[in-house]
């Protein structure tokens, strides 16, 4: 099925099951990347993806088509992810979980034929340092950074999603970059 966006929206508004599948098929990876970038938690990100799509489907009647469907989905995902961050219990867990346990099997396995063990070890170290540095960023700066670097959104699109000014996007993005740069200074040549 290759519906164009207005057709997809119209079918979603009619409660068409195939359209719902198509929506998820098209955007699940984008939505997951945003959720993961903000929460840095694979398990929570999966839940956020699920809840986000359900929310989108329940509220599709309110979608007026002034923004693109993907922008609307981004907004829902960002809100869901930030709400997740605000729940203090999870926040507590989030800040106290050791970095090593967060990999959840997603890191490259040592001993594969593709890479030397030493190189892999260094990459793992950089990845952990990056993960830690991302985690230490304020929520708003990290959200903007994720939307920019993983989705390649323009400042205007990010401003629209977060309901802030373009100038704020620029300054917070620069702040995030500066912080990450400082945190990874010692790995500069290996990145």
């Amino acid at each position: 099925m290759a519906w164009d966006e207005p057709t997809l929206v119209a079918l979603l508004k009619q409660g068409h099951e195939g359209a719902f599948e198509e929506l998820m098929q098209r955007y699940r990876q984008k939505v997951y990347l945003i959720a993961y970038g903000i929460t840095l938690d694979p398990e929570e990100s999966r839940d956020i993806v699920q809840e986000g799509f359900l929310k989108a489907f329940q509220n599709i009647s309110r979608f007026e088509g002034r923004a693109r469907l993907v922008t609307w989905l981004h907004r829902i995902t960002v809100n869901q992810s930030l709400n997740w961050q605000r729940r203090w219990k999870r926040r507590l867990r989030w800040h106290h979980r050791p970095i090593e346990s967060e990999e959840d099997g997603e890191s490259i396995q040592l001993g594969t034929d593709e890479y030397q063990a030493e190189v892999l070890h260094q990459r793992r170290e950089i990845d952990q340092a990056y993960h830690k540095a991302l985690k230490q960023l304020p929520d708003d700066a990290r959200t903007i950074y994720v939307l920019k670097e993983t989705e390649g959104l323009s400042y205007a699109e990010i401003a629209r999603i977060l309901n802030i000014k373009k100038g704020t996007v620029s300054s917070r993005l620069f702040y995030a970059r500066q912080r990450l740069q400082k945190a990874l200074k010692s790995y500069r040549e290996s990145i």
């Binding site: 694979p42 997603e106 890191s107 950089i126």
Partner: protein, 173 residues
Amino acid sequence: MKTTPGNPTRCDHEQLSRYHDGEATSQEIRRIEAHLPHCPDCRNMLADFDRLGHLMRSHGERALAAADTSAVMQRLLTRRQQRREAFAGWRNWFKPARLFLPVTVTVLALAIYIIPQSFKIEPHGQAPSAIINSFTGSVTSVMLFETPNTHQTIIWFKEDSTAKGENDALQKI
């Protein structure tokens, strides 16, 4: 913010960040492009922005590869299916209930209108009510007439009785 030897323009790293994202104005682009050849700091910074962006994307890609979003999608579809079935179950339960609707309406109508009528239950203070007591004497009559709001006493004299009394008196004389 600083100037480098041989370069009159100042380093502006936030502007550089905008330049990296393709968000700088044409004036800023001209200024940065004139500045960069003379400033290794800014060139390094630009390269770092690139590296960090690449790191973010590869970090995300690895997370995505491990996430199995198709399983998430399947779980979501199953959940929706279960919800629909649950909703259908409720709808089936309500089907026979719909048959009782006219009966319920009739019973309610009876309760509200017909039953009070047949038992003569009248709402307080609405209909007129009167308690009448009257005393009839040989000369006068008295009637007590009461409504919920007023108490009236009506007294009247019997003219013929008066005449009869007068005749009696005359006869006695």
